[in-house]
């Protein structure tokens, strides 16, 4: 092995990443070559000096908070209202739309001789309306409509109750999982805090020991007296 080849392997040797064959070859070269041996020693010493540089501890922990949710405006609320597929919501929206459309176009409705008449943008004042003929039929429609609406409401109430129960159950499960997860995170936080406290206690002990030693050195006579007093006792 040449010195150049040896130099290429020195860093790997220093950090223990060489293959056994390379390691053996380098060690053999180092035994024979004093210049490379000295260089390897210098590298080792430099790493050793650097490793004496102790870590600093963060003065305070960085903490992030949950960003507040964005407030939604009126259009978003309308979209949210319609985004959930629900027959009553769609029926309400349709009714409102039809009402507005008819209102804007000044639409008038009439029923005459078995025919339903629409009139857009004009009055029906001049037309003869046979209310007496249409009244029973309208009443019948009225009753049928009321029945249909009543059934629809009942069916929806049952459906809503079922949905509510399902949602409560789902929420309950989510809450339980969240609680478990939070507890685990809190435990992790406590472990980190405990380790930090132990580290600080160790540092305090070292400081106290040092101070005690310094006190002893600064007052040798006093220390001797204490020692002598102990011996006399």
């Amino acid at each position: 092995m040449t010195c150049e080849e040896a130099k290429n392997l020195m860093v790997g040797y220093l950090f223990g990443t060489l293959a056994a064959e390379e390691k053996g070859a380098l060690e053999a070269h180092l035994q024979d070559c004093s210049a490379c041996r000295e260089e390897m020693q210098e590298l080792r010493e430099t790493v050793s000096v650097l490793q004496k540089w102790e870590d600093v501890h963060p003065k305070q922990r960085i903490v992030f908070v949950q960003p507040s949710p964005q407030k939604s405006g009126f259009p978003e609320k309308i979209k949210a209202f319609l985004s959930i597929s629900h027959p009553v919501r769609w029926a309400t929206a349709l009714a409102v739309f039809v009402f507005i459309l008819f209102g804007l176009s000044r639409t008038q409705l009439s029923y005459q001789n078995g025919h339903l008449n629409f009139a857009f943008g004009r009055s029906l004042e001049n037309q003869q309306v046979a209310l007496s003929e249409s009244l029973p039929i309208l009443q019948q429609y009225h009753v049928e409509t009321l029945n249909a609406v009543s059934q629809l409401i009942k069916r929806n109430a049952v459906q809503q109750q079922q949905n509510l129960l399902l949602a409560i159950d789902h929420l309950n499960q989510q809450w339980y999982q969240q609680r478990q997860s939070d507890l685990r995170l809190i435990a992790t936080g406590f472990q980190a805090l405990k380790a930090e406290n132990e580290n600080r206690a160790l540092q305090t002990n070292q400081l106290l020991q040092w101070l005690t030693q310094q006190q002893g050195l600064a007052n040798p006579v006093h220390s001797q007296k204490i020692e002598r007093g102990k011996n006399e006792k």
């Binding site: 790493v47 903490v63 995170l185 070292q206």
Partner: protein
């Protein structure tokens, strides 16, 4: 031992749990702070860049696909932030290799003690003096070599991890480490670092 892995914390954060991100931050804050401190040579700058780094991570973590490479990704962000900071401040090292370290006017005992308001015992004083010399020495070698030395010796990263972070071949990493250590040795030998430090 931490019971929850980084990957699990990242997944929890992606599902909206900010507290999981805080745990992840506290786990890595110390290492990133020390990495930045040794790279920048100034603890106040390091603290600022450390905060900026975790803010970037907070914003971008949801888009990280390969969570197994989180640590490499985190070091990349920290390094980019530090390099940006250097560029902004135009504080690229222009000091000469021949200039003696540790003899400047601000190296007085009072100046060193004033670095930290806490009462420091003898060990801390020696440590602070040594840190100052090592920190200044690191600033005098090339940036490429400094990064590799910090990652390998202080962060104890594997060569393959350094390759992932720096996106350079392993041979280049080893070569930068070798030349960096030699340059650093030259600088340190001219410093006021006590001879006993080399032997102990």
């Amino acid at each position: 031992m931490d019971s929850v892995s980084d990957q699990e914390l990242i997944e929890k954060y992606k599902r909206g749990q900010v507290q999981a991100f805080n745990v992840l931050t506290w786990r890595w804050q110390g290492r990133i702070l020390n990495f930045l401190y040794r790279y920048l040579g100034n603890i106040t700058d390091a603290e600022d860049i450390c905060q900026t780094t975790f803010l970037k991570v907070f914003q971008k973590l949801k888009h990280l696909q390969d969570t197994q490479k989180f640590s490499a990704w985190l070091y990349q962000i920290a390094l980019n932030q530090a390099r940006d900071y250097f560029r902004r401040k135009k504080r690229q090292s222009v000091l000469s290799l021949n200039q003696t370290i540790g003899n400047a006017a601000d190296d007085t005992l009072e100046a060193i003690l004033a670095d930290d308001s806490e009462l420091s015992p003898d060990h801390d004083l020696q440590q602070k003096e040594m840190q100052k010399i090592l920190s200044e020495s690191l600033q005098r070698i090339s940036e490429d070599q400094r990064v590799v030395i910090i990652m390998k010796i202080f962060e104890n990263l594997k060569f393959s991890e350094i390759v992932d972070i720096l996106k350079v071949p392993e041979g280049t990493v080893k070569s930068r480490l070798y030349t960096g250590l030699k340059s650093l040795r030259t600088v340190l030998e001219r410093s006021h670092l006590g001879k006993e430090v080399w032997k102990s």
